[in-house]
Symmetry: C2
Subunit: 418 residues, 2 copies
C-alpha cells in the first residue's frame, strides 16, 4: 500500500471529525476557483431576494409580554436557503415569517439531521444595532453542520445573511426608543429535508434564519441552583458531539433538566465519567473561581475544549480572552478538567470564590449552589446580582454589545429605512 | 429526611431513565381509573376518524421501482394524533398522506425531540396480511418517547392504530397478487411540535404513522463488509440513549457511515470504549457465531441489553429466543460483551463460524468481513446467501411473517373491503 493511502486510512481510523471539516473547507475553496456552471452552487448572500410581508404584525410592548405565551414570537420575516446535493445552494430568500412544509418522511424528523446557532442583536446606547462576534457563530454553525452530515458553506455568507435580516426587521422590532438593554434573539437553523427514509446523509436541506424574543434568563435572584446529573445520564462523551450545536445534544438532556426543576433547581450541572468532571451547566458553559490551595492564587477555571465534550461558547471564549487581558496579575485563567470532588474540597477548605454559567441565552448567570448526591456546595455571592468576577465579565461584554465600548467584537448592522 | 424521600433522591441520582418509565406507566394507569373530564385524555384508538383521499395514487409495479427515486413513496393515507400537555391526546385521524406544517421554531427542528419505530407488514402465503410482533415496537416506542421527553401512551393503542392504517391501505398497496416475500414498511413517528425556542420538554407533540416502500437490504451478494468505527466517533455510551430509537442516535452516525461507504464497505461496526466492545452494525444488531476455545462449543454471541448501549431489536430478540428453543444442545446462545480483539483471536485460531446483522430494515444480513485498523477479519460464508445459522434464523422468522408457520408472533390484520 502506498504511504499516502496508509496515512489517509490511519487518519480516518482515529480522527474523522477533524478530517471532514478540513475536507469540506477545501471543497468550498475549490468551488470558488471553479467557474463551471455544472458544479453545485456555493452559498452566496449577494443573491438574496426580498419578498416583504403584506400582513405586518404588531411589536409586543416588552420582552416580558412577548414571552408570556406558549409560542415564540418572531419578527415579520425570515431568510430561507434551500440546498440540493446536485445543484448546491439556491438563492437566499427573505420572505414573510411562517410555517415550513415538510414531508412526514423528512430526514430531520427521524434522524435529527439538524443544527442551529443562537446570537443576539442589541440596540446600543448610541442608537445603533450591533451583533456580538457573529463570525464565531457562523464558523461554529459550519462545524455543527459537518458533524451532522448537513452541507458545508462559507461562514462569511451566513454572517452577511444574518445582518441582512436584521437590516430589514431591526428598525421595527428593536426600535430606537426601546428600553436600554433590549435585544432580539437570532436563530440560524439547518435541517435535512430530503423526504426519504433510510439512515443516510440527506441530499436536500434547508438553512433558515429567524429572529425572535427570548426571555431574559440571567437574573435569577440570589443565583442559580444546579443539581448534578444522575449517574445514568451523560450529556456528551469523548468521541461524541458535545462540541457541536446539534439537536442531538438537547432532546436527550430534557428529562434530567425537568427532574432537576421539579426538585427546585434551575439547571443540571453535567458531570462526565467516573471522576465526575464538571462540563456544562444546563446548556451553558460553567466557570468557577477558586483559590489555589498551594499558592493562594485566584483562578478562573472552566472545562477545556480539546476533548470536545463542551460547546465552544462565544460568551465563554470572550470571558476567557478578556479575563486574560484585563485581570492579568490578579487572576489566573485556566482551561482544564476539574471534578465535582475538587469543588467539594475547595468548599470544605473555604477556597471557593464564586461560580457562574455563561452562554448567549443566559448571558452571565451567577450560581449560588451546586447539589451533588445529597450534599450542597454553596458558592459565595457578593450581592444578589453575583460575585465580583461574574459582574465584571458581564459589564465588559455588555459594554461591547451595547456600544458603550468601541470594540471590534461589536459589529454594527446597517439599517434599512422603514 | 424521611426514608422514602431519601430513596427517591438516591434513585434519581443514579437511575433516572428506569424511574421515569415506571412513573409514566403509573400515570397512565391512574388516568385510566379516573373519569374526570378535566384530566388530559389518554391515547384512544377507538376514537379514530376516517377521511379518505380524493386523489388516490397509483401503486408502483415493484419494490424496486418504488425505491428508484430520491423520495420515499408512501401509501394513500397516514394516521396523525396531536397531543397537548393540557388536554392530552386528541382523537386519532386517518387522513390523506401529505406534508406536515411546522413552525420554524418547532421543538423537533432544534432539539431533536423525536423518536420512531420501524416494522413491516407482510402478505402471507395464505393471502393474509400480517405484522410481526407489533407489541414489541409499540412498547419500545413508549420507552423512546419517555427518554426524549415526549408524551407517554398506552402501547396497545398504538398497536391498534398501526393495524387500522394497514386495514385501509393494505388491500390496495400490498394486494393479494403481489409477488411472494413482499412487504410494506410502517414508520410510527413522534415529534415535538411546540413552536417555542428554549431547551425544555415540548408541551405539544404529534404522533403519526406512515406506510411506505423500503428497498430490500438483506441480499448483499457475498455478504456485507463492515468497517469498524473511527476512534473519535462513538455511537452510544453508557448513560446515553443507545437503547432508544431516537433521532439523536442516527444523525451523528451518518458521517462515519458515509466514509465507510466511500471506502467500499457497507456499514460501520460500532465499537465501544478502549476495550473495543462490538455493539451494532450500522443501525442493526450484530451476531457472531464462534467456537469456544476451551470446549469447542458453538456459541451464538450478541451484545447484551443491560448496559443500554444497543437497541433492543425485535429481530435480535426473536433470534435469541428461537435459537434457544430450536438449537438447544447444538448452539449456546450468549448475550455478553465481546471485543473486536476476541474476533481477531478467534479468526487467527480458526474458530469463527459466521456473522450476521439483524434488524427490521436489513432483516438477517450475512457479514463476510470486518475491517479493523488496517486488518481484515473474514467470516466464513457457507454460500453466497450466508452461513447455516443466519439462513436458519431467516427461515424461522420469515415462516412466521409470511404465515408458513402459525405462531403467536404473526398478527393478522383484518382488511377493509376495497
Amino acid at each position: 500500500m502506498a504511504p499516502s493511502a496508509t496515512e489517509h486510512k490511519n487518519k480516518q481510523d482515529v480522527d474523522l471529525t477533524g478530517q471532514a471539516i478540513e475536507h469540506k473547507l477545501a471543497e468550498i475553496a475549490q468551488l470558488k476557483q471553479s467557474n463551471s456552471s455544472d458544479k453545485p452552487q456555493e452559498l452566496d448572500a449577494s443573491k438574496l431576494t426580498y419578498e416583504y410581508t403584506k400582513s405586518p404584525r404588531p411589536v409586543p410592548a416588552s420582552i416580558e409580554e412577548a414571552c408570556a405565551g406558549p409560542e415564540t414570537i418572531c419578527t415579520d420575516h425570515m431568510i430561507t436557503i434551500a440546498w440540493d446535493a446536485e445543484t448546491g445552494w439556491a438563492a437566499p430568500e427573505l420572505r414573510p415569517y411562517g410555517p415550513l412544509s415538510l414531508m412526514p418522511t423528512a430526514s430531520v424528523l427521524h434522524y435529527a439531521t439538524e443544527c442551529f446557532e443562537g446570537l443576539k442583536v442589541y440596540r446600543g446606547v448610541d442608537g445603533q444595532l450591533r451583533l456580538f462576534r457573529p463570525d464565531c457563530n457562523a464558523r461554529r454553525m459550519l462545524t455543527s453542520a459537518v458533524r451532522i452530515s448537513l452541507p458545508a458553506f462559507e461562514p462569511k455568507e451566513l454572517e452577511k445573511l444574518i445582518i441582512a435580516l436584521m437590516s430589514v426587521d431591526g428598525p421595527k422590532w428593536l426600535p430606537r426608543d426601546v428600553p436600554p438593554d433590549s435585544y432580539l434573539y437570532l436563530r440560524p437553523t439547518m435541517i435535512g429535508t430530503q423526504a426519504q427514509l433510510g439512515v443516510q446523509a440527506p441530499r436536500q436541506a434547508l438553512l433558515y434564519i429567524t429572529a425572535c424574543y427570548l426571555p431574559r434568563m440571567n437574573s435569577v435572584a440570589g443565583g442559580m441552583r444546579l443539581h448534578t446529573s444522575p449517574e445514568d445520564m451523560v450529556r456528551a462523551w469523548v468521541g461524541g458531539f458535545g462540541y457541536a450545536k446539534v439537536g442531538a445534544n438537547y432532546g436527550p438532556s430534557l428529562q434530567a433538566t425537568l427532574e432537576a426543576k421539579q426538585r427546585g433547581f434551575h439547571q443540571v450541572l453535567w458531570l462526565y465519567g467516573p471522576e465526575g468532571y464538571c462540563t456544562e451547566a444546563g446548556a451553558s458553559n460553567f466557570f468557577v473561581v477558586i483559590k489555589s490551595r498551594e499558592t493562594g492564587q485566584v483562578q478562573l477555571v472552566t472545562a477545556p475544549l480539546d476533548d470536545r465534550l463542551i460547546l465552544d461558547g462565544v460568551t465563554r471564549r470572550s470571558i476567557v480572552q478578556l479575563a486574560r487581558e484585563r485581570l492579568a496579575g490578579e487572576v489566573e485563567v485556566v482551561e482544564r478538567r476539574y471534578t465535582i470532588g475538587e469543588l467539594q474540597e475547595a468548599h470544605a477548605e473555604g477556597r471557593l470564590v464564586e461560580a457562574f454559567a455563561a452562554g448567549t441565552a443566559y448571558f452571565v448567570a451567577p450560581v449560588s449552589l451546586v447539589h451533588h448526591r445529597g450534599q450542597d456546595i454553596p458558592f459565595p455571592m457578593a450581592s444578589a446580582d453575583g460575585g465580583k468576577y461574574s459582574l465584571l465579565a458581564k459589564s465588559w461584554i455588555s459594554n461591547i454589545m451595547y456600544g458603550r465600548e468601541d470594540h471590534p467584537w461589536g459589529v454594527v448592522v446597517p439599517e434599512k429605512a422603514e
